[in-house]
Structure formats: C-alpha cells, structure tokens
C-alpha cells in the first residue's frame, strides 16, 4: 500500500519549496525546474533518527518523487549484497564500496524525461580493472559475466544495443588469452578495456574518459598504468584499498559531471542527479560518504545531490557537520561549509509525527473502517509520534476493528505487515524493527530496570550467566548509538519502546513468571527505605496497591507536597497490562478496575485498614488509581476519571492549607495535561527527576 508521507512537508513541499526541491533543483513528482539553494555545492544531507522514525520511507518517497525526472539511485547499505562478495568472487577483487558504486551507477544510468542514458566509462574502466584482480584462475564464462555486467553501464540501448555483448566478449577473450601467455593478466584486461573504449567511442568525451586515469598517482601520464595501479592498490587492501575506492567514487562523480556538462546537457537535463543511501551507518555508507566529502573539501566538486539516512546522531563520524531539526531546514538550511570535510555534510534530525499527522495516517490506513474517535490520539500518545508505531497500530486497527479497540489489544493482536509476510503480534512486529534483534531478549528483561544497578540485579536473576555487567554497559552504549534517548531512572529511555518491551516481558510466559520474577527481583533489590518509591512502583506493577496507598497516606500530612506529588506520579507510572481483579491479580477479562476504584464505586466494599483516617485513605487510594490509569500510555484518558482526579486534588488541598496552592494548581494542571496527551509535571518543579523523594 502506498502511503503518502505525513509530517515531512519540510522536505517535500513544493510551494514554498522544502529541502528536496532546493537540493535537487526539481519540484517533487514533477518535471519542473526549481532554483537551487546551493548552486555551487550542495550539502551532503544526512537524515538522522532512531529506528522507526521513517528514514527509509523518506528515501523511498524521494526516489518515487524524482524517478523518471532526474537520475536517481537508492541503495540500502545494510543489504546483503554489500555484506559479502557473491559466490565465486575472491575478496581481494570485491569490496562493499565497489559493489555499491556499480549498483548506484546502474540505477543512475536509466534514461529520464528529456534525456537519454548516462554512460560511465571512467567508473566502468576502474571496475573492470578491480575485477581483473580476481581473475587469476577464473573461467572464461565468469570473466565474461562480470565484464558484461560492468560494461552494461555503457549500454546506451538502440545503436549500442549489442555493443556491450561484443565488447565483453572481446575483453574476455583477451583476458583468457592473457592467462595462457606471458602478458600479465591484469594489464591484459585493462589494455583490452581501454582499447575497447577508444574503439567503441570515437567522440571527444569518450576519448577524454579513456585518458582520465592518466592522473592516477604515479601513473606517469599513462592511463593503462594508472588502472594497473588502481587494481593493485585495491588488491593490497587496507589503506591502499581505501585510496583505490576513493578513486572509483571520483570516477563515478566525474562521469556524472561529464553527463551534466556542455550545451546539450543544459538543453536536456533539469536539476541534479540524486543518490540516496539508506542505513548509511553501515558499510559501505561511511566509506562512500567520507570519499565524497573529502573530494568536495579538496575542491574536486561534483553535481550530485546526496541524501543519506543513518541511525544515531552521527556525531562521531561527522563531527563538524551542521545539525538541524527538520523544521529548521523547511525554507533554508543556513549551511556553509568550512575546511573540514565533515562540515560539507548537513545532519537533519527527523522529528516524531504530530498529533495531526497521526490522525491523517490512521485515517488513510483505516479508510474502509469506522475508527473510534479516541484511537488516533491514543496511538499518538502511546507511540510519541513514532511513524512506524503509528503505521503498524493503524494497520492493526484496520485489520481488527471493530472487534478490538484498546491499544493493548491492538498491540497483542496479530498483524500482517505485508501481504507476503506472516502475521505476528503487533508489538512483536514493532520490536523486530525498533530494537536490534541481537539484544531483544536482554532488553525485554532489562526494560523493567531503572539504572545500571537494577539492570544487574535483573540480569543476574533472569539472564544467562554469560551476560555480565560489561554487557549491560555495552547494551547501554548501543542504545545510545541507535539514537534512542537516555532518560534518568529508565534503562530504556524511549517510553514507547519500553512499553513494548514490558508488554513482551509480560507475555513471555503463559503464567507471566518472567514478569513476576522481574518485578519481585526489583522489589528485593530496592530494599532500602529510601528506595521505597521504586519498591512501591514494582509492587503496584504486580497489582498490589495497598503499600503505596499506605505510604502516600502516611506521608501526606508531613511531606513536602512537591516531593509527595512526584512520588505519587512515579509509583503510578507502574505498567498495567491485563486487568486485575479485586485482589490485584490479573485476569483475562476486558475490564480495567483502576477506573472503578478511581471513581469510588468499589469504596463501599473495600475494607479500610484499622486505625487510619478512612476518608483520607480512600481519597489517596482513588487518587493513586486515577493517576495510574490516566498516565498509562496504553489507555486513553477517561474524562470522568480526569474530573475525579481534579476533585480529589482539590479536596486534598483543603486538608493541607499551607501547601494548598500547589495541590490546587495540580488539580487544574494535571487533568488538562492528561487530556492534551502531555506527561504530568510539576506543578512548577524544575528539579523533578521523576523519582520523588525517598
């Protein structure tokens, strides 16, 4: 299903122009020229964001918008074809970068409206030279196959239709002949290639192309020698290979520059060619990026618009790059490079989607279904605007409405992400794409942790012995590199990912053993009195609200009200999956008893402990359940419970006249924040660390 991207107008808008038309010089989806923001040299745009932020979707949409209008290439650096050499290809004549260049050039060569195919004689000659390095004991058929694939880059169709085939045959014949003669193999292949270029193309440009490798270092003005050195460097590996790869990148950019130079090019081509690199944090993404940026910094310009997408913020790799939020580049980038190569890049962080965008996506994906009015805002509140989360929830809703309506049920219901893929629970499908697969199990357990110490306790209790403290730290580092935000007192900072992981933990065993053990472990871990809020938080997660009510009741009269409110919020942020029965045990029904308690309907049957202020106890109990329910990301706020929250806080403000103002303020701010989908804060408490006082 084709989904129009929402919330990415800063990139795709046509009037006023977003970043894409200003970068490419074409109105998206149209064959209409647009003025360039940086006519001399465009920034190397790198889109950043965590998993699920829609980077791949943006690149796909860019390709769709410009394909057929300007040469476009899109590669996924994490694809298998760039991970290892194809069968039979020796590693010394293959590298991810060289493979990526061939794929990019193949895509860029395609004809576009108004202009024909682009030829890549420089890149082709270089790739043949590199491939020749691996032909030592190859069969003629394999050589022919490899050469043909590379030479098809120069297949302009029509007049040159059978040309590549003949050419490949000729080169292969020479190479095969060279293996049986004294002529060195590589130089034989290179000689044949250069001869073929000279014979096949008589134009001035092609002649120029065949002489391009004369300038290769130490080539001494001899193109053949240059290519032999290139092949040698590539085979040598290490720094030499990097050098050769940079030269191959330069060859491709020179071919593109040639295609965009001259009178006829100006008369036929609009805008710039566009190269899109997905998962650019993975090899060969960083290598290609570095090669382009280095050449640009050295004044070897090109005319290509690059847009890469990478996880994480790229600070280490591109230290001097300009950093912008997507909204900041909507009208202009304010980008100016300095002497550092990485300053030629422009990092643009993709933001979460807004509530309106969520509404539009749910509307688009559930076009044939009646969507409950609360669902879009609930989805936005749960996912925090994570595009993948919104889309999968909407897909789940489209497949299960009207039978399933709550977010919890939508997350556990099976969803089929694509027609050719098997159905699996929505939360599982989300975790597969939001969390590195290799850490999923560990993170499922550690999601309940708050810090390194609690994580260690959980690891000890629930994870294999091989997973030690160092692994916990490595996992933390990995999460940071993925671009997941770090939040105090939460091992997994992203609330949406954490909620999914906790849900997975809860569902790991039929009888929720892991879930219970995790919380019980943490209850034990937080044995110290000053750690009471943690303990109470996890007790509440296991369904036992009484200790929390008692503690809050007892502290109310004396505690600092700000701290008391923080503690209340922290305890009430405990996860709540299946509904609990009157004793706090979860059961399979659909009811949510928190609302009933918050609204006071259970008060009559509830046995108030002896020797306590019964009114205060019941009020605190109602208040705790109200906050617990209203801050649960899996449940949409109930206005009645909101009203009750306001009422209870108002009443409490009467009991503590000195701190009445704060409680009164909370009685107004909290229901409003809940209804607006904002987290509960304050009131006016900049010191709030979410944990409260001990």
């Amino acid at each position: 299903m084709h989904t129009r991207l929402h919330g990415r107008g800063a990139l795709f808008d046509a009037d006023p122009a977003g970043l894409a038309p200003r970068l490419v010089g074409l109105v998206p989806g149209r064959h209409r020229a647009h003025s360039l923001e940086h006519p001399d040299e465009p920034p190397f745009v790198v889109l950043t964001g965590a998993r699920g932020m829609g980077k791949t979707a943006v690149l796909g949409a860019l390709r769709d918008a410009y394909q057929g209008h300007t040469p476009v290439a899109l590669i996924d650096c994490a694809a298998r074809q760039f991970a290892e050499p194809p069968t039979g290809r020796p590693p010394e004549s293959w590298s991810p970068s060289a493979a990526a260049l061939l794929v990019i050039a193949e895509q860029l060569a395609e004809p576009v409206t108004g202009a024909g195919r682009i030829a890549f004689p420089r890149l082709m000659a270089g790739l043949v030279a590199v491939a020749a390095g691996g032909w030592g004991d190859a069969e003629a058929d394999r050589i022919r196959r490899e050469v043909e694939r590379i030479l098809l880059l120069n297949d302009r169709g029509g007049k040159f239709g059978a040309f590549a085939g003949r050419w490949a045959g000729k080169v292969a014949a020479k190479v095969v002949a060279a293996t049986t003669h004294t002529t060195p193999l590589v130089s034989g292949a290179i000689e044949a290639t250069l001869e073929s270029i000279a014979e096949g193309f008589t134009g001035h440009r092609q002649q120029k192309a065949s002489e391009w490798y004369r300038s290769y270092p130490n080539a001494g003005g001899n193109a053949q020698r240059g290519l032999i050195l290139l092949s040698q460097h590539f085979r040598d590996g290490g720094g030499s290979r990097e050098h050769a790869e940079r030269y191959l990148v330069r060859a491709m950019l020179a071919d593109l520059t040639e295609a965009y130079t001259g009178f006829m090019a100006r008369m036929q081509r609009l805008g710039r060619p566009l190269v899109l690199l997905d998962n650019a944090q993975t090899t060969p993404g960083p290598e290609l990026t570095a090669a382009v940026l280095r050449d640009r910094a050295e004044g070897i310009g090109d005319r290509v618009a690059f847009v890469a997408a990478r996880r994480g913020d790229g600070r280490e790799e591109l230290p001097n790059a300009a950093r912008r939020q997507l909204a900041e580049v909507a009208r202009r980038t304010d980008w100016a490079p300095d002497s550092a190569p990485s300053s030629r890049a422009l990092l643009v962080a993709l933001p979460p989607l807004g509530a309106d965008d969520t509404l539009h996506i749910v509307g688009a994906l559930c076009a044939d279904t009646a969507v409950p009015s609360h669902l879009p805002s609930a989805a936005h509140r749960l996912t925090g605007g994570n595009p993948l989360g919104v889309v999968l929830l909407a897909q789940s809703a489209a497949q299960h409405l009207p039978g399933v309506t709550s977010l919890g049920e939508l997350l556990t219901a099976e969803v089929r992400p694509a027609e050719d893929q098997p159905a699996l629970p929505a939360h599982q499908a989300l975790l597969d794409r939001l969390v590195p697969a290799e850490y999923l199990e560990e993170l499922t357990v550690l999601a309940a942790a708050h810090d390194h110490g609690s994580a260690r306790a959980l690891a000890t209790a629930l994870l294999p012995d091989t997973f030690g403290p160092a692994d916990i730290r490595a996992l933390q580092t990995s999460l940071a590199a993925e671009g997941l935000p770090g939040v105090p007192d939460q091992f997994v900072g992203d609330p949406f990912v954490r909620a999914l992981l906790l849900l997975r933990l809860h569902l790991r065993d039929e009888d929720h053993t892991s879930w219970r053990r995790a919380h019980e472990t943490l209850i034990e871990h937080y044995a110290e009195p000053e750690q009471a809020p943690y303990r109470l938080h996890h007790e509440l997660a296991l369904g036992d609200a009484e200790p929390a009510v008692a503690r809050l009741r007892d502290d109310f009269a004396t505690a600092d009200i700000r701290g008391w409110l923080r503690t209340l919020r922290f305890i009430a942020s405990a996860p709540y999956f299946h509904a609990h029965d009157a004793e706090g045990r979860d059961f399979g029904g659909r009811g949510d008893r928190r609302a009933a308690v918050a609204l006071g309907t259970t008060d009559a049957a509830y046995p108030v402990p002896q020797d306590v202020d019964a009114v205060l106890h019941l009020r605190i109990r109602r208040l705790l359940h109200a906050v617990w329910e209203l801050t649960d990301p899996l449940v949409l706020p109930d206005p009645k419970v909101c009203d009750r929250l306001r009422f209870e806080l108002e009443q409490l403000s009467n009991l503590r006249p000195a701190a009445g103002a704060l409680l009164w303020r909370a009685s107004r701010d909290w229901p409003a924040a809940v209804l607006a989908g904002r987290p509960l804060e304050g009131p006016e408490d900049p010191e709030d660390d979410g944990r409260g006082e001990a």
């Binding site: 149209r30 064959h31 209409r32 020229a33 409206t113 108004g114 008369m267 036929q268 609009l270």
Partner: protein, 507 residues
C-alpha cells in the same frame, strides 16, 4: 497527469526541457509562418483576377497589368485579347520588349468600351505589323493590357506594377493609350513619367496634359508623346475651318469646365475673336435647364444658318443637340454646330435625337482620325492614302488573327494603331548599335527625333513631334455626324491652316 491535464503535460514534457522547448518554438514559428504565408497566398489568390491582375483590398475592380490573357470581364474584348495572347506566345523569351496599353478596361460606360475596344484592335494591328515586318527589326513587341480603372486612385497599383516591369524580364519600354484627359489620367501620366517610363498618349488632347507649356516647368511630363493634336491645335484647325465656312459664330461653353473644354474655349475665343455677347455659358450640373434657356436666345438671332461653337463634353453636347432640335427649339432655323473630338463619342449614343441631326442641325467636329480622310484628293503632304492603306491592308490581312467587328468611323482604331506605331518606332530607333533591347531612358528621348525624314507615317496622317512630344500640324479631319449611325468625312483641317512640309515640323 490527470489533474494537470494537457497543459501540465506540455509544460513538463516540452516547456521545461530547453531542447524540446526551443525545438517546439522553432516548429511553432515555422507553422505560424507557413500559416500566415498560406493565408496570405489564399487571400491573394482569392483577390487575384488573373496573372498580374487583382482586386485591391476593399476594391471591386480588377486592377493591374494582365501579363496573361485576360479580358477584364468584357466579352467584347475577348477575341482581340485572345489574338494578342497568341501573338505574345509566339515570342521567344529575351527577344522582346513589352508595351502596355493602359486604358480603363473595367469601365461600364458603353461609349468608353467601344473606344477601348477599337484602340485595342488598333494596338494589336500595330503589334502584328511590327512583329511581322519583313525587315525583322528587333526587338519584338509584346503587348499587355494595363487597367487604369475608373476610380480616382485606381491607376496607382497599375503604375507601380508597370514600374516593376521595367526592371523585370518583361522589359517594359513604353505605355500607350491613357484615354481621356481626366485628372486621374493626368496623375497617372505624371507618375509614369516620374518613373521615367515613356508614354504615348493616343486620345489625350488637353493642353495641360502635354509638355511645351509656358512657365518655369515647360515639360512636366518628360517622356510623354502624343498622337492626337492638342486642344489648341484642334481648335486652331476648327477655327481655320470655321473662318472659311461660317461668320459670326456663337460660343456655348462649359463653366467652369475642365482642361479639355477650357482649352477649346480659349483657342476658339482667341482665334475667332468672339465677343462676350456671343458667348453663352452653362453649368454641367444643370445643363439641360440651361440649354432650355440658351436655345430661345439662339433662335432669336439672325436668320439663316447659324454656326454654334460648342466647348463642352459629349454628354452635354448630346443634351444640347436634343434641346436644339426638340419641340422647344426653333424649327425653321438651321444650325451648324462645330465642336471638338468629344463629339465622336456620340457616334453610337442611343440617347441622341438623331432626327434633329437629319433636319436642321449639322454637327461638325474635329475627329482624331477618319477612314475617309485620305481616300479622295488627299493633300500632297501631311499624310497619304498609302500610309492609310497599310492599315487597311492589315485589316484585310487574313493571316492575322481575328479582332472582332471593326468600326473605323470613330477614328479610335486608327489612333490606337498610330499610338502603338509611334511607340514601336521609338523603341526601334532606341536600340543601341549591336544590341536588341533599348534602354528605358533612350525610348523617351527618341520622341525628339520623330520629325522630318524620321516622322511616323501614321494612318491618321503624318506624326511629326515638336521638341515637347506634341504632334506638329497634325491633320484634323472635320467630320459630320450622320443622322443614322456613322460619320461622314467633310474635309481635312490643319492647325497651321495648311499641311506641313516634308521637313515637318520645320517649315
């Protein structure tokens, strides 16, 4: 593309791509140019009447020079036009020069059409004679018809076209004809001579449409030659006739008149010394009323045959004769009306009261030519029977092609023939030694040599030109209009009172 439609497709697939944009603009420009060319050609063809002849925008007449066979829609010209076409078609390219006969071929007046037909016949005969002359003197003569039209400025496109033809392969070297002495014709002659095109006037008689005038600019029409004597010469001849044949004539004249009537009046009054009391004027616009008043006055004068000199145009002459011979006239009295060559138009005028002519009115007038002028007892000089017989021989020649019914009485055929003869003579005498084609300017200069031994032996009499292209002492036949159709030659009269000598114009 559905949203943007065709406009968006054109913009993105053509306009936005410079190469396609410029190619399509060039293609569009070619198409527009072809369209404009096509429309213009179609309109020109729609306006075109025949090769060289077209209707100007907003005009009805077919104007211009018919370079092919075209009779201007007049059936009576058809036969002679076809003969001219055949004669022209025998000419080898490069062997000929072109002479244009310029007349108002699209006129609707029957008398004009008769005159034109007769001049056309005369011109063809002269062309035939020149091209079939046994001496074979080059160049051959191609005759084309140039329509000056009937409008005030209708001559302009024709004259411009004639000018272009002097420089084209047509090699136009003279224009003959012109017709009456009207203001448009005067302008046309002025334009032609300004272009240095030699002009031979056939029936121009007005004094002011001639060179050799007093004042600072004696030759306002350089290159103009005339076959017909000026009005003054005609008046002189008439006066010399009247002096011998009438006493105390009365002058009836057009007031304010035109160049023709005024020159006639002026010559008659000065030569015959007519006092004011014997002069009666009329206004052309109210002529019939005024003639009603004039006739009783005439009747009351001395008994006997009265001679009336009439200085007016033929339309008023016809009214005057009708008034004089009608019931309100003066029966019992006889009148002799003398007038200029305008009377020749009455030859075929159906409105003329011919009974009056039969009874008591004799209409005598100076004709430009008459078939009987040289038939009996011709004078020894000034013309000859033999000269006329050449024309007669051509008329009887059955080798030439047909020219339709011939009527010689009005003299137009003879004068047309002589005008063409004069043009051919000038052309032949201007051919440079060793060459075959005369320069345009030389033809005009040749007029000054037409005298003495180089005079043209015209069918209407000798054509000796003075230094200004005007005929000197040209024979003026006095003819009488019969009551029945036709004229009767009376006698020859001479502007100088007697025929010229052999060395004309020198005496």
């Amino acid at each position: 593309m559905a949203g943007g439609g065709m406009g968006s497709w054109v913009r993105e697939h053509v306009w936005e791509i410079p190469l396609r944009r410029y190619l399509s603009l060039a293609l569009a420009a070619v198409l527009v140019a072809a369209g404009v060319f096509g429309v213009r050609t179609a309109m020109r063809e729609a306006r075109q009447c025949a090769p060289g002849v077209s209707r100007p925008a907003g005009g009805e007449e077919c104007l211009g020079v018919a370079t092919g066979p075209y009779d201007f829609g007049q059936d009576q010209f058809h036969q002679v036009v076809d003969s001219i076409r055949k004669e022209n078609s025998t000419l080898e390219p490069g062997s000929y020069v072109t002479v244009a006969l310029m007349l108002p071929f699209t006129s609707t007046a029957p008398t004009d059409l008769n005159d034109i037909e007769h001049q056309l016949q005369g011109a063809y005969l002269a062309q035939y004679a020149a091209n079939h002359d046994p001496t074979g003197q080059p160049p051959k003569i191609r005759l084309v018809l140039a329509n000056s039209g009937t409008g005030k400025d209708s001559w302009k496109p024709t004259v411009d076209q004639l000018d272009r033809m002097t420089r084209s392969a047509d090699r136009l070297r003279a224009v003959v004809g012109i017709g009456q002495s009207t203001d448009p014709n005067k302008d046309a002659v002025a334009a032609l001579t300004k272009y240095r095109i030699p002009v031979v006037g056939s029936s121009i008689t007005a004094d002011d449409l001639a060179n050799g005038r007093p004042g600072r600019n004696p030759d306002p029409y350089p290159g103009l030659a005339r076959v017909a004597p000026t009005n003054t010469d005609e008046a002189r001849a008439l006066a010399s006739f009247a002096k011998k044949n009438a006493s105390k004539p009365i002058l009836v004249y057009d007031e304010p008149g035109d160049p023709y009537t005024n020159s006639l009046k002026r010559s008659l009054t000065s030569l015959l010394d007519i006092s004011y009391d014997r002069q009666q004027s009329f206004a052309r616009s109210d002529a019939s009323t005024e003639f009603g008043n004039i006739v009783p006055t005439l009747c009351s004068t001395t008994q006997g045959t009265r001679t009336i000199l009439f200085a007016g145009r033929h339309a008023q002459l016809q009214q005057f004769i009708n008034a004089l011979g009608g019931h309100n006239g003066c029966p019992g009295n006889s009148f002799q009306v003398l007038t200029g060559d305008e009377a020749s138009y009455l030859t075929y005028d159906k409105n003329l009261d011919r009974d009056a002519l039969g009874n008591n009115i004799t209409l005598l007038y100076t004709s430009l030519a008459h078939p009987d002028a040289w038939a009996e007892n011709p004078p020894k000089t000034g013309g000859s029977t033999a000269d006329y017989d050449i024309l007669k021989g051509l008329l009887d020649n059955d080798k030439r092609r047909p020219i339709g019914p011939v009527a010689l009485d009005d003299g137009q055929l003879i004068i047309g023939y002589d005008a063409m003869q004069l043009a051919v003579n000038g052309i032949h005498h201007s051919v440079p030694r060793g060459g075959t084609t005369p320069p345009l300017s030389a033809v005009g200069r040749a007029w000054s040599h037409v005298r003495g031994p180089l005079k043209v032996h015209g069918a209407s009499g000798w054509i000796c030109l003075d230094g200004h292209g005007n005929p000197y002492d040209k024979a003026v036949p006095i003819v009488r209009l019969n009551s029945k159709n036709g004229t009767q030659f009376v006698q020859l009269a001479w502007p100088q009172g007697k025929p010229p000598t052999e060395n004309c114009p020198m005496t």
